[in-house]
């Protein structure tokens, strides 16, 4: 019954990840503009299909989206997730064709801004332009980190990195304390994200639990017991990663 909340802690209360709005740093006029283009979506909804025409830039206001691509034989790779505050421009080089499919992983809402409006907005509001640029940098850094592990990392490294990435993006305290969060994904979907079979995702996470790195409750309610151990498995410097994939808050 997580379909209509984003994150819950082990007691079922919304965690601070949902409490803080990542768009808050933006001025009211920008947020108003977003709200004027807002529309709700539901868990499982298909927002856009790969290769379809797309005429808008999206900003996630609430909920999780997945950006994915599939092969004919039905195999899917999740390219990225879009979380609240993220801006998604799926267009390929022609400016029209979407390079990914966009699907809702939870209930939520997004702002769909036609290209013309979007260009006007970014031209008019430098803060929005800067914000978009920072988010693009975060996107690029995140995807490059994942590509590195997709090409060269072990299963353990891929899982560990993905969990750390979630941990950082959700804004859960990740240095000191024991971060705890929920990800609205099945093991199959997590596998589609990091290029592993669901079976192998399961085994790998179980092993981490046995080794005292994690604790898992319900479906994908994750508590990081040993952050340093996890970072070591992921082969990342947590502090540096945070700077690279989290747009600096004003």
């Amino acid at each position: 019954m997580y379909s209509d909340v984003l994150f819950v802690d082990k007691n079922g209360k919304p965690s601070r990840a949902v409490a803080s709005d990542p768009n808050l740093e933006l001025s009211e006029r920008v947020r108003n503009a977003f709200n004027q283009h807002a529309r709700p979506f539901h868990d499982g909804a298909v927002i856009l299909l790969e290769n379809d025409e797309c005429h808008s830039v999206f900003c996630v206001l609430e909920g999780w989206l997945s950006l994915s691509k599939s092969l004919d034989e039905g195999q899917t790779q999740i390219i990225d997730f879009a979380l609240p505050g993220d801006i998604v421009d799926p267009a390929a080089a022609d400016g029209i064709t979407s390079s990914v499919s966009i699907e809702a992983l939870t209930d939520g809402s997004l702002a769909a801004m036609p290209y013309a409006s979007w260009e006007r907005m970014t031209a008019e509001w430098p803060e929005l332009h800067r914000h978009e640029h920072r988010l693009k940098g975060a996107d690029q850094a995140r995807r490059a980190e994942r590509m590195l592990r997709l090409g060269k990392g072990t299963a353990e490294m891929r899982v560990a990195y993905a969990l750390l990435e979630f941990c950082i993006r959700l804004g859960t305290v990740c240095d000191g304390g024991t971060p705890e969060f929920h990800i609205p994904l099945t093991q199959q979907q997590l596998g589609d994200f990091i290029g592993l079979s669901s079976v192998h995702v399961c085994r790998t996470m179980r092993r981490m639990v046995r080794n005292g790195i994690l604790e898992m409750t319900d479906h994908m309610n994750i508590k990081v017991l040993d952050g340093d151990g996890l970072a070591q498995l992921a082969a990342v410097d947590r502090r540096a990663l945070k700077g690279e994939i989290l747009p600096a808050r004003a």
Copy 2:
């Protein structure tokens, strides 16, 4: 002895890929601005290191660059290649830290434009702003296609896709006729690009040669005998891919 030329055909003459300047579609004032920031680089030169500070946007004027990331144990993943006309902004979310290492694969030259200058240029010249946007779309589409195959594709699919991508990016005629081009990469580097060992790259390409899909001469001089076969192995629609990863020429 390919270190100082970009592409040569089987006779050693420069191919049309080097003959046509991808920046030609830009106005003279933009090209002049690029030329004012131009500086040469040499095969093997390290332009920038992952995690270093970076204060410029780069535009490749001539030659090939690789954008890569490495694990501590020395394993490298090439995230993308930058070819003449490509714009590279390596900054992560903080706007300063580079998310990739940049190295020269051939001799060539690039324009390094400090962020301040770059922002002035894009603000002043809408054509440049549009051009940058198209290139970002191409980038995104390309990387997503590769991620899909990195996560879900066989060795054969990865190699075939990479070759098709080169074929399209180099602007060699890819429908009808037999495209032919040179890539300034070792099998090791090609493997680092598509997440395979050099040995497996070798075997896979040999098999393609045996099956009459390709012909290879010298080091990485490639002739595509059966473009349709190659596209089928890569699981792509060549026409569609072209639209997605090639910025439309005016």
